[in-house]
């Protein structure tokens, strides 16, 4: 049967894609970010770690969905998804290749489990989906695994609650486990961490909130999932609400997890960046060495 072996969190900010495209990923500004991701990239390319399929949870940034259609939870069931032109031409990355059999199976299972999914076939994917792929899988001519795009509305209020997201993750886990084919499935939760891109409060970063969120995501997701929207907005900035998508990933991993790797960096453009590898405790592999990496301004906390 198919299994959710791993959860990964990643930032999806467009500036990371731009750094790759312009060859500036090794400079003083971006170097530490790409160094922090290198451990994840190396890990995923080791034998047995490359998934057959990634369920990639992200938010569409007014790309595939405009003001006409605002699905709360959507799933891409097509054979492939092309990178979207978001105003500066499409990102020069391979088409995302889907897994229609598993995607339709998950869609049906979720609906029977009371999650009323929106099913998409003709859908372009934006930086929310393709930047995490580039950061973790590098720059291959074809992506080495299948990807099921799973957009969540976190733009037009209200987005789904953290609780709803956490429970959705649990239902994704059950759906994957009832798929007969033997597949290594990852669930990736992208976006975050604290950031605000609008208004006079733009630039807000809340290291204390972020590190507490990481800790509770690992150890106490049940209580974390009850955090109301207003708390994300106040503490993590207007765009920090993307963190509810991490709870979908976490819900798909079961009760206890082992944190193989945690990377936290301030700033990546306007945001605090968090990238993690988590696995269900009972099937977890070895933690990476070092297990936690802080860089940029976040180093201040490491010394405490």
């Amino acid at each position: 049967m198919a299994r959710v072996t791993t959860g990964i969190t990643s930032s999806h900010i467009p500036a990371l894609g731009a750094a790759i495209q312009t060859g500036t990923s090794g400079n003083d500004y971006w170097g530490p970010v790409f160094d922090g991701y290198k451990a994840i990239k190396d890990w995923i390319h080791q034998p047995g770690n490359m998934p057959d399929v990634i369920v990639l949870v992200y938010n569409d940034h007014a790309t595939a969905f405009d003001m006409n259609v605002i699905p709360t939870f959507a799933i891409g069931c097509a054979e492939k998804f092309e990178p979207a032109d978001e105003g500066w031409g499409p990102r020069p990355v391979p088409d995302v290749i889907g897994h229609p059999d598993l995607a339709w199976h998950i869609a049906q299972s979720l609906i029977l489990d009371d999650f009323d999914m929106c099913i998409f076939n003709d859908m372009k994917v934006d930086h929310g989906c393709t930047v995490p792929l580039s950061m973790i899988l590098g720059e291959p001519s074809e992506w080495p695994c299948k990807v099921i795009p799973f957009p969540v509305n976190v733009v037009t209020y209200p987005p789904p609650s953290g609780r709803r997201c956490f429970n959705l993750g649990d239902s994704i886990k059950a759906a994957v486990e009832s798929f007969p084919e033997d597949l290594n499935v990852h669930v990736w939760g992208t976006g975050g961490m604290s950031h605000q891109l609008q208004g006079p409060r733009a630039g807000l970063i809340n290291k204390e909130f972020d590190l507490d969120f990481i800790d509770r995501l690992i150890n106490d997701p049940e209580n974390l999932s009850h955090m109301p929207h207003i708390q994300y907005l106040r503490e993590a900035g207007s765009e920090g609400i993307e963190l509810v998508m991490w709870l979908i990933m976490r819900g798909a991993l079961g009760d206890k997890v082992k944190d193989l790797y945690t990377f936290y960096h301030i700033p990546a453009s306007n945001t605090a960046l968090g990238a993690m590898i988590l696995q269900p405790e009972e099937t977890a592999g070895e933690a990476l060495e070092p297990r936690t990496v802080m860089s940029g301004h976040s180093m201040a906390i490491a010394a405490e």
Partner: protein, 152 residues
């Protein structure tokens, strides 16, 4: 007979709390309705042929959309705070600043009253501190009732 319902969120209280966050306009249904055409205009810039026409004559292109005068003025001035006041959302408006060749950081920074350099420096130094930025009511209580809205 029905199952016991979960505790419901009071939508009026839920929405009212958003107005208590300093320097922030949450993209509620009310804003989404107000900004419908402004946001759809921005979306149109995802097509190269539209970008070309827009760049050739901003004002003429804007006439093709059902925009308020305030929205048109805000777009022409690239005043992102004013666009958000007109119901714009930053992810939609990103098509406009991307078409202008501007980054998210430059656009976000332009809404803070800081220069691009000052904003970039603030981010490198760890970003804007959340201290005193979470609640207008809390700020008001802390200052003994003085108007804390004057800055944000």
């Amino acid at each position: 007979m029905s199952e016991p319902k979960k505790e419901r969120i009071n939508i009026h209280e839920y929405l009212a709390e958003f107005d208590d966050i300093p320097g922030t306009r949450v993209f509620t249904a009310q804003r989404a309705r107000k900004g419908y055409w402004l946001n759809q205009f921005a979306m149109s810039l995802m097509k190269e042929e539209n970008r070309t026409r827009f760049k050739a004559d901003n004002a003429a292109y804007l006439e093709e959309w059902q925009l308020t005068d305030a929205a048109k003025k805000a777009v022409l001035a690239r005043d992102y705070n004013a666009m958000i006041d007109e119901g714009g959302n930053v992810y939609f408006l990103s098509k406009l600043f991307s078409a202008d060749g501007q980054s998210f950081q430059t656009a976000a920074g332009s809404m803070t009253g800081m220069t691009p350099d000052e904003y970039a420096q603030m981010m490198i130094a760890g970003g804007r501190s959340p201290a005193g930025m979470q609640s207008l009511k809390a700020n008001l209580a802390a200052t003994g009732g003085e108007d804390s809205k004057k800055d944000f």
